[in-house]
């Protein structure tokens, strides 16, 4: 093996975008569900807004990463490329999500009372349902953007989109947990227990997906194996698997057995923060470890 270097075209700006896209989509999906069932709406209405806002920031980072940002308008004037390019599809999906997400989230705030629909009215629920479905696409899309690149085997696998999707859902939920700690009496101890257990289940699914992803890629060729060796650095093992997934999992489970409110808040808060850091490091590691197949 003569080359063990990941690609250098895309870096941390793209990684943060992928992280924010997953987080925003996850936060929106769970907020919509909570508003729909009428539980913890004080947190959920803010979470529903955090979704599109987080994706707006992420999209801004994508623009910032461009070499000639003044030509980005072409993403909306060349629909013919929609037939083949995932990047322009993504641009349209993100734009639609931001517009619909804001339209759904804003009536939850007194400032936007003048909007003629409610989150719980028929139109509001329909709007929220469509946007939540779109959010699922937003969470999967970065995995497709990278996944169609055939020359990078670490990305070119159907195991990548589920990985980004699950990580997006659990970081989104962790964001809701963090927000519910900041807003006093928004979510009681029972609520934190519930959100914590759902997030713990998502972590278990993510661990399974991550393990399967790394093993399948490792077995799929020399370049792929080199990428996985690069990916599974001590930094990744500690930052993503240990402190980014296993530790938060243990903390959520631990706090579910506690009844002392300040302790639960501390545990869930720390677990959510660690999960967010782990999610970001996961994206950064996957993007940085993409070794290209050498053609000669």
């Amino acid at each position: 093996m003569d080359r063990m270097e990941g690609q250098r075209e895309w870096g941390w700006l793209i990684a943060i975008y992928v992280f924010l896209a997953g987080l925003g989509a996850g936060a929106f999906v769970f907020s919509f569900i909570l508003i729909f069932i009428g539980k913890y709406t004080a947190v959920a209405r803010i979470g529903a807004l955090a979704g599109p806002l987080s994706i707006t920031v992420g999209s801004a980072l994508l623009l910032f990463d461009l070499g000639s940002v003044t030509r980005a308008y072409r993403l909306f004037t060349t629909p013919a490329t929609l037939l083949t390019s995932w990047m322009i599809r993504g641009a349209w999906i993100l734009t639609a999500f931001i517009i619909l997400g804001l339209a759904y989230a804003l009536p939850g705030f007194a400032l936007f009372d003048w909007l003629p629909w409610e989150q719980t009215s028929g139109f509001g629920v329909a709007l929220g349902t469509v946007t939540a479905l779109l959010a699922l696409v937003v969470a999967v899309y970065p995995g497709l953007l990278l996944g169609v690149i055939k020359s990078i085997p670490l990305w070119n696998t159907s195991a990548l989109p589920p990985l980004f999707f699950l990580s997006g859902m659990d970081t989104g939920l962790a964001t809701l947990v963090l927000m519910s700690l900041v807003i006093p009496s928004a979510v009681g101890t029972d609520g934190l227990h519930l959100l914590g257990i759902i997030d713990a289940s998502l972590i278990v699914l993510l661990l399974v997906a991550l393990g399967a992803y790394m093993e399948i890629v490792r077995q799929s060729g020399a370049t792929a194996a080199a990428s996985v060796r690069l990916l599974a650095s001590p930094f990744f093992i500690c930052g993503v698997i240990l402190s980014g997934l296993l530790l938060p999992l243990a903390m959520y489970i631990c706090s579910a057995y506690m009844s002392d409110a300040p302790f639960i808040r501390l545990m869930d808060g720390l677990a959510s923060l660690l999960l967010l850091c782990g999610g970001l490091l996961l994206r950064l590691s996957v993007i940085r470890s993409g070794v290209r197949i050498v053609v000669r």
Partner: protein, 201 residues
């Protein structure tokens, strides 16, 4: 009409004249070469030997770079040449990642090649169509073709390892070489259908 190239690896000595001719022709800035020669070892001692593979753009019939380009900046002409319209490229580098042959380059900066404080008149003349923050690539020397000349790398090759012509014409030199010496393309399994063929030694 489909322009194509045949590179006879039995004749290639890895001298990089093609690479230098390319830079002289295109005036690419420091850090950017539209053409490179891959050098690698093949076999094991005592039968090990040095091998060379010149890598221009493959001008694929089904280009991976064209497929991913979101702005329509990458296009393919009727004669098979794949080009970038630098006035339409937004610099997302998706094509640079997608090209399986790593022959697309990103013009991050335009650095002076000759180490001077200012650009030389030669560079100013050659680089007037360069746009910082866009993707760039080999264009089979399209301006030379329009004048009836061969691409600079083909004309320069001292070993006469490179041949250029119309792949659609079964009587052309390139078609005959491919047929007689069983020319091969790189990474055929991807379905990109490159227009650059290699004759393996």
């Amino acid at each position: 009409m489909r322009y194509g190239m045949v590179i006879d690896l039995k004749r290639c000595a890895g001298c990089n004249s093609c690479t230098v001719a390319c830079r002289a022709e295109k005036g690419t800035p420091s850090g950017i070469l539209y053409h490179r020669v891959e050098k690698y070892e093949a076999g094991k001692y005592p039968a090990a030997r040095m091998k060379f593979r010149p890598m221009p753009c493959m001008h694929c019939e089904q280009p991976a770079c064209l497929e991913v380009c979101p702005t329509g900046a990458t296009y393919k002409r009727d004669d098979g040449i794949v080009l970038v319209d630098h006035t339409k490229c937004m610099g997302c580098r998706y094509c640079v990642l997608a090209c399986p042959y790593e022959v697309r380059y990103y013009l991050k900066r335009i650095d002076n090649y000759y180490g001077l404080a200012a650009r030389t008149p030669y560079e100013m003349m050659k680089q007037k169509d360069f746009d910082k923050g866009t993707a760039v690539k080999c264009d089979f020397c399209v301006q030379r073709l329009e004048k009836g000349r061969l691409p600079a790398c083909v004309e320069t090759c001292p070993a006469q390892a490179r041949h250029f012509g119309d792949l659609d014409d079964p009587a052309s030199e390139v078609s005959e070489l491919i047929a007689v010496f069983r020319g091969e393309v790189l990474r055929e399994e991807l379905g990109t259908k490159p227009s650059v063929y290699y004759i393996n030694g």
